[in-house]
Amino acid sequence: MGRPNQDVVAETLLELARADKDVLVLTSDSRGSGKLVPFGKELPEQIVEIGIAEQNLVGMAAGLASAGKRVFGVSPACFLTARSLEQIKNDVAYSDRPVTLIGISAGVSYGALGSTHHSIHDFAVLRAVNNIDIVAPADNVETREAILAAAKAERPVYLRFGKVPVPDLHPEGTPFRIGRAITLRHGDDVVFVGCGETVCHAVAAADLLSKKGVSAGVISMHTVKPLDAETLLAAAKNCRALVTVEEHSVHGGLGEACAAALMEAGVSVPFRIVGIPDEYTVTGKQADIFRHYGISAQGLYDAATGLLEA
């Protein structure tokens, strides 16, 4: 088992900041949840505390970036992408400032705290905003690489992370590029396309399926936008069913992005989107909510066999 992705985020940011004094981390009273207390102790000049004011955090991030700072805004995803959506849209994306926005405790990481603290809308809203990449890394390796890639991207990037330990899926040194999916395993019968903390469940489901003699592939589609349609289409053409999975509403997220890419390419494959349905979201631990909505080995196994047997 690996560590929480957020630990890796904080560690990678510290490493970047040690090497470059223009690297700044902005927090909205969120350094504790962002695991950034050690960062603040070591480099107090490079952490900017905004207070509980996410709109101002994003606006200031754009201003700092315009003056040459390499800015990472770290704030709970639920607030960062809703309260300050207009600042993301106008001050970062439209104004084309190379700000990296890091949504922490994303998806249903704060499951028991209720919908105020869930961010299952962030892919949907940001997909419709021009000029920002959306990345949800699956494990510690992807997390570190995604932060390093965002630091070099010179353009707006939104990254989102959860707070529980996640299994290691990739060996160190796995090549990573924003916009380029990573195929974890190939499969002829069913392919799972997931992102973020759901990918490990797709891997577990693929294990269950292979025990039953079903060949199941898994793709980590860590970048929701720009979508790696090439990898998606290649996989879809060589399987009998495709299941997407995400810690997000079934509306407007990875699943619908894949569906659109498949339809526009004229690739027809039995298809299912697994995510949070459009209803009053159940509460509990992230794992409880995942299980409830079938974002689990068993749930994904069932989704796959349902499509294959139909």
């Binding site: 000049e45 101002n56 606006g59 991030a61 201003g63 315009s66 040459g68």
Partner: protein, 281 residues
Amino acid sequence: MSDHELELKSIQYRKHILKYIKMAGAGHTGGSLSCVDILNVLYNRILRVSPETFEDADRDRYLQSKGHSVEALYVVLAERGFFPESDLETLCGYESHYVGHPTRKVRGIEHNTGALGHGLSVSVGVALAGKMDDADYRVFTLLGDGELAEGSNWESAMAASNYKLDNLTAIVDWNTLQITGRTKDVCKTDPLDDKFVAFGWSVADVPGHDLKALGEVLGRAPFEKGKPSLIIARTTKGKGVSFMEDVGKWHHGVPNDDEYAAAIRELESAEAVLKGEKISV
């Protein structure tokens, strides 16, 4: 540049604002006429920025938070040589970069604005970077009085004093009107000076069409070491054209042919008086 030349520029800018709004058939006439004297003084007296130095890291920055008064900014930037004035013939046209709110596609513009309540936050960020880098540039931003109802302004106002940003000056174009009516009736922001003082700013009040007074007050910012400065510029919406002055419908009213001719006549006679005075001195 003499005070007299500056006065003449204000009239010239007003004529250009009306010319291009008339040509485009769209624009924020009243607010552009109310803030243009402030822009005149900023770009001709205060800001250390020119087309040649616009990319320099140590240039002074001006961010127009009340983005809808972009026509005033366009005519001043054109006159200062950031782009050819003839570009403004495309204002609000198909595929023109000269859209109804500022964007960085236009040379001389620092930030894309238009949604209200954004410019101050971004300016706070730029000013904070300046402090971190020990740079000596200054940051100026222009807010509308109606805009102050946006809560994000007050987040930024707190941050600016928290970070002791005395390299930041915000100017409020206090024309007392917004699209619906009197600002005091829509959402009362008075007493604005007390509010900003309470937020840790140093505040000055100035007649917003008095170029000399504007030059003086902008020139002495920061008013206090370690504090951001706020200038409440008492302006008149539609200033310079008698039938537009302080009349709400000119917020984004476009003059018809007769109105346009009358407005230009009035500005030209003011110009003649100004030139005549100069000759008679």
